[in-house]
Symmetry: C3
Subunit: 659 residues, 3 copies
């Protein structure tokens, strides 16, 4: 990306009256340089079967050209027109809950041949129509792509055929999936029962894996089509998103992001986060960490909130702070969803930059001011790469493992992951995210949350990493089952016991108060506890309970040149913090004096200079300590030396470039 992208989604189709010129003028005047269009409006582009109408596209492209705005064009496949549903009712996925009804988006069965045929035609028509336009800089394929839980008998057949191909011997398949249990054995592929009734989690997880593969295949296929039309300088992207609570929260269970990313020229992402009194920067940091790690490269935030949902209306200063937070995470572009607000339908209260009155307002002004400021420093302030010493090993198969065999409704994989991540974040310890397939050797410390599903190859890699001097912090529920969620029939943690120097065969849920002591301070244990029996391991904490006191809760062991700390139970946030500090010291990593709400994030700019972003995520004035080498505060030109203290006003940022 040559320039920093700053823009918004724009929908000429939705406007209550003709505003195209007014809006693009406002965009231009406000320093916005890009719009994202078309990904939601198939029914306007093809109002009836085979009839194409690019009026709105042309209006937006013309206005873009007039005002010098770039355009990202989305393929409009995530929301089909009603005529297509009437013609091919099977496109809307039949799921566990039954047949879906037309109306909502992301309900399509990605394996439906009629769907794919119509997708291909609109993608070709649209891409051909826009590819040569000078404003078009790239394409977004589909939108937050989902498999919609498609589970019709036809779709299941594809899955069964894949199993057949993979296992060939049906006995082998029955054995691996343990289908003798409860009389679920099948002696012929023709007898395969409807997957929607299964009580076999190996099967259920395999089907989820299959659905994730259909997402990857769909994006790969779209990329292939668009590549036939796009100019070489145009890019292909997709807006990868996250698991959702009331905002972006954790690893996306429905997509194999690393696989999808292979077919993209640049990673795109959607990040929505709490705001006002709940704005902490954690979600932006966490999500940007995943997005940056996918290609170890800058990425575009294709969607983030302007005013957003009613509860998110930002305090003054927070929009600027959020923009810098994205940039500090490695973003090379930020597009708001959306420029204007919407006057009908389900997202009417998901407000854009402009309110429903479509007049320049405080949101517009704050973003405009930010952009003016940033234009003066972007050449220094943009992050090219990071050099983190810590990585968290994330794994969708393990996430699904804990979905299938839940600990409890309030402690899923993503909560375990976020508890670890947030503890690092609050301590100003930046990290990368790695997958099982990735190289670990460049890191000093790998944190392994609940790696429930792992084959021996993966475990060998972790062991090897430790043996060669690496440090690992591994949590409970790791190394328990193989790739098919079949529980390993040997000592747990499977394949790691020589490495951990401790093992267990019993685990329980603490129904009473149970605590552990770390360095003399006591912390509560909740949700899960493995009764560790140390062999060679050093015991960091035993369970503090008269009937469980003989068992270890946390152990540490040297293995080769390295060391692994095994956490056998779920700790409170304070306990987790104490443990992580202990692990860090052992790994020879240093701690910052700054802690949340004073957040420091660093990276290197194009010139290879180190940049320090200091954020105050609070309504109070706070003190910060500069811990980098001598540098310059780039907005004021003020020099800063290691150890310098300075004050930060509420919700502000300070950016320092090392000399």
């Amino acid at each position: 990306m040559k320039d920093f992208l700053f823009g918004a989604a724009y929908y000429d189709e939705y406007m209550p009256y003709d505003r195209i010129d007014d809006d693009f003028k406002l965009l231009k005047e406000g320093g916005f340089n890009v719009v994202r269009i078309a990904e939601s409006t198939w029914s306007s582009l093809e109002p009836s079967d085979g009839v194409f109408d690019f009026t709105h596209i042309d209006r937006m492209l013309d206005a873009a050209q007039k005002y010098g705005i770039k355009v990202i064009v989305g393929t409009p496949t995530y929301a089909i027109p009603s005529w297509l549903d009437k013609k091919y009712p099977d496109i809307i996925a039949e799921t566990k809950a039954g047949k879906g009804i037309y109306g909502a988006r992301q309900q399509n069965d990605l394996t439906n041949p009629d769907y794919l045929r119509y997708c291909e035609r609109i993608i070709r028509k649209l891409t051909e129509h826009v590819a040569k336009h000078p404003c078009v800089i790239g394409y977004q394929l589909d939108n937050e792509t989902r498999s919609a839980g498609a589970a019709s008998i036809r779709t299941q057949k594809i899955f069964i055929n894949k199993l057949k191909e993979k296992y060939k011997d049906i006995d082998l398949f029955n054995k691996e999936f343990g289908l003798d249990y409860w009389s679920n054995r099948i002696s012929s592929w023709e007898d395969f029962p409807d997957i929607r009734g299964t009580i076999n989690q190996s099967l259920s997880a395999a089907y989820k894996g299959f659905l994730r593969e259909t997402v990857t295949g769909f994006i790969k296929w779209q990329a292939m089509i668009v590549n036939e039309y796009k100019k070489p300088e145009q890019f292909i992207t997709n807006n990868l998103d996250y698991s959702w609570t009331t905002h972006s929260f954790g690893l996306q269970p429905l997509t194999d992001q690393a696989d999808v990313a292979e077919y993209l020229d640049i990673t795109g992402t959607d990040i929505y986060h709490p705001s006002a009194g709940d704005f902490t920067g954690r979600e932006i940091a966490f999500c940007s960490g995943i997005s940056r790690s996918l290609k170890k490269a800058p990425y575009i935030v294709l969607e983030t909130q302007a005013q957003g949902n009613p509860g998110w209306l930002p305090y003054r200063g927070q929009l600027r702070l959020a923009a810098y937070s994205h940039i500090a995470g490695g973003a090379c572009g930020i597009l708001y969803w959306h420029f204007h607000s919407i006057h009908n339908a389900i997202e009417s209260y998901w407000k854009g930059i402009l309110s429903h009155d479509l007049l320049p307002n405080e949101t517009y002004k704050e973003l405009t001011d930010f952009k003016k400021e940033f234009d003066t420093i972007s050449h220094k302030a943009l992050i090219s790469y990071k050099n983190n010493r810590i990585a968290i090993l994330i794994d969708t198969a393990s996430l699904v493992g804990l979905e299938e065999f839940p600990i409890s409704s309030d402690l899923d994989y993503n909560t375990i992951l976020r508890n670890l991540y947030d503890t690092l974040y609050d301590l100003n310890l930046e990290c990368d995210f790695v997958y099982k397939e990735d190289d670990l050797t460049e890191y000093d410390l790998i944190i392994v949350p609940a790696l429930y599903s792992a084959d021996d190859k993966c475990l060998e890699k972790i062991r090897d990493f430790i043996y060669r001097g690496g440090h690992v912090l591994m949590t409970f529920k790791s190394c328990f089952s193989n790739n098919n969620l079949k529980i390993y029939p040997d000592r747990q943690p499977h394949g790691m016991t020589d490495c951990t120097g401790a093992c267990y065969d019993m685990f329980t849920v603490p129904n009473e108060e149970i605590r552990v002591k770390i360095d003399g301070v006591s912390y509560p244990v909740t949700h899960w506890m493995e009764l560790l029996k140390p062999d060679r391991a050093e015991v960091i904490a035993y369970y503090d309970h008269p009937m469980r006191k003989d068992y270890a809760a946390i152990t540490r062991n040297r293995y080769g040149e390295g060391q692994i700390t095994y956490l056998g139970c779920n700790l409170s946030k304070d306990g987790l913090k104490a443990l992580i500090i202990k692990v860090l010291k052992a790994a020879g990593l240093s701690l910052s004096e700054n802690t949340y709400p004073c957040i420091v994030r660093t990276g290197y700019n194009k010139a290879g200079r180190r940049i320090h972003y200091f954020f105050n995520y609070s309504s109070d004035t706070i003190k910060a300590v500069y811990e980098g080498n001598t540098g310059t505060e780039i907005l004021t030109g003020k020099a800063l030396h290691k150890g310098d203290n300075f004050n930060m006003n509420p919700w502000t940022v300070v950016i320092i470039e090392e000399a």
Copy 2:
């Protein structure tokens, strides 16, 4: 109505043994003068297709004649016989949840032609059979009529045809409903998707409006039929009811009561309320206010509880108090549901006057005593009309607007409405209810809760009312969308900003503690806050929060001769009370010294004399102050002068007629 009606529903069909004579004798001896029959027993009246059996009807009419009891006959259409369901399974509505199953009542698709044909026949047969009987004084059409959420494809076609007729140009329709959003645009009426999947609230609300119209149409059609048979002195009514929580609570979302009432000779209503320690009189007052306002005339309470549900068993004295509460609201008749209790099926624990043992009991005795007492004073005590200075503007479309775009699960339209109403009630400020179509000019103060959906004509009427000297208290979420829930694309509150002297384009949900000060006292804000920017308005309160303090929460502005107070946020009950007192003073209305649990309700009797009802809704003895002109306590003959104090025993009533 010549005489005050006092009676109960009666079902000879349900009795475990023959009691007809015993029961009518008990009725007579107890002072009951009317029964309501037949509305629930189609399967007994027409045991199989075309076979009619009026044995039970005749038994009841004969007994009525013998004991001089009047009879209201209900058309039995809300619960169909099982043979009709077998023959025409499509009569039971197919809804969003799928096809209903026979058994429960009010499941019928009111547009189903087979249903209507069979309804017509039983109505004609029954009406013809009873019309000439001297005891029959009137007809109830159907029972708490509902549309049952009918949404089969056949039913939807009727809706689509109405849209087609209304909009003609499909582009206009797409524009108005914003269907381009998420590819929902339709280019042909034939492509109209199943409404049950829609994510477009304009469409969803329009369908709800259509279903309400089918209710009106159904009642109108029944009235037409019954009119062919009924004698001139017989009346037609229908038991209009209310939204339900665990009792009658707010405006009924499924009926346009004002429209239905046009086809009735007298308004009927069903009112159920908390009892025992939870009896406050609020529900009776609120519901009676709506019922009386429909025709600005007395109405019949066709159903109210005797013993009711287990949790409602009244304290001694409460049945008398409830009866006087209905009368103070303007009722000219009270019928209990029901005389006897039931020994099988779903309402077995919804007890009548008699318990399951069917013997005269405490309930019977208290009602009998009440009736004896009331017979001596009814000529003075019955209310003919009221002369309230305040009205609340209620609106089903706005109620639906907040259903479609909810603030939160615990703050819907009816809760906002009831918070306002209950505050008035507790302060002894009686009010009428008006609809958008009604004349406002006779009032001093109009209270406008969350008028979410309003066209310019309606807003013009409100502006005009203020301009000519009226006072308005308008709450948040008013004047936000048009009749189709399309949000107005200009400054909010739309069409009122010159009048309010303040506007806003930002709103949020207070996730932190936020308060406002009214006259120096601080109150919490919850659920919703609009960030008001006063222009000419006087600011009554700013938001008390460091990051939101620049915005107003409540403003007041003169416009013409009048004044509007705009409440931009949801207040606690205390806060609301403080604001309403402030508004009242500005409107020149006076406050009573009596407050809840001492409730005073007034009106004028046939002689045009003012009647004051004093109620003590508590288990304590309380003090009351008489604030009317010199009058007489009509039960004791004691004279009372303005300013006189008197004590009231727990759960008692005092009735005073001005001289």
Copy 3:
């Protein structure tokens, strides 16, 4: 049963690798003498239609023979193979929720002729195959048999025909079920509507009764088939279980256990209970009481937990304590579910004796040690019979009555039952359980919880019991409806008012604080209160509330030689305890000085000697008092005299045999 059975369920089919010899060797070495096999593995036994494969059966029988282990063979009918579902999709029951999907167990429509035909064939084949094997000691018919809520139109037809047969006159049927209500009357059996929509609880309860009859019929039919093959010394059993909360809790609503038990040679049962800090012994005692009472004879625990679910992992000593708890309840065998843990599917975390690593572990060791110890004392310690003075009258029809007409979601029949039972248990008052059909005369005190549904014959029996000198404690909601849940149309409690000396026709739910005083101490009333009007009865407590104070809450009355205490309201546990102590004293029964957590349970061994089991269900050391005649502590040989005090360590048992 000659020997005490000690064993586990075993599934060669599920094992991740060949362990048959290792496992049976471990069983043998550990003192286990029985396995239960085959009940879950139809798809392995008959992998496709008509193809039988008894390889796993033979492997297990061979290993059993080699190591001298007995075998109980289960008929595998509760979980069908997928090919059978493909062939006959109607076998999986269609319920109120729609058609079930293959996968889970216990979904079969027990009336489906195809199901029965295939069941018969596999039962015959399997039984024939194993009957002559010397290790096979018995058969379990099906597994925790359920009717699965089958409600297809075909299944309903059977029910309707039974009604038709029973009532003949459809008017009689309409009258008894009160079908005139809400137009539900049917004039022809052909018009019978789908039961799934009914709002008539009499009908709904009758259908539940019909479904329970299909369970009885199914077991009877299986017994008939197995009897054709089995050797005389082999027994037939079935694992009867209990209502489930998060563990075995109360009376099983889906089975008429007393009816099923008639077709069994020995009662079998499944008992799962809380453990660790929540282990109280209550569930074992309650469930064993029901199981023992069915045939007034010892029974086999066919399933109980080893490690069980994660939250149940026992403290050290608790497995031994649980085993003795079962024995103290009258068990003559204990089989754990299961020997090994499972590596795939829904019960992977329901752990057996061995953990997933399949190695001898602490669980195995504790059970092994227990067995060694018990072998030395079993001839003395096994209970042959009990001689309880108290019985609780339990009734499934009344349980269903309160399901159909619930008091509240947190006070169902089983909660009322368990509150009474647990109070007795904590006071060390052992009891039997009797059904309406049983003889009452051998007891001193009958406790009657919420006997909602009872015919006059049953009431006559209770009256007679009292008249002849018995004591009864009867609670609220008793004697309210007949066998069809039709409420009696006379004074409540129906048919008992001369006996109770009190009656009521009003009841309510205490929404405010209401208390009662028993012997001067005040206790709260919750959920339900009947307003009792004493006639001749002594009032034990009035309601302590200004508006309800005239009504009695608890009364006591002599009737003939006996006495009945009627409890008209739901008491807190403390209140219930006070009342029960009062009733006991009146009945001349003595109280133990020991109370929970010191639990004493007694019975008589084969030699007719009285055995006292003392349990400490706590983590504390407690004091116990021996209250029997002089005896010997059979594990230590120490003598004990009446009145002796001794200490008990945490989670231990002391067993004393009277001389």
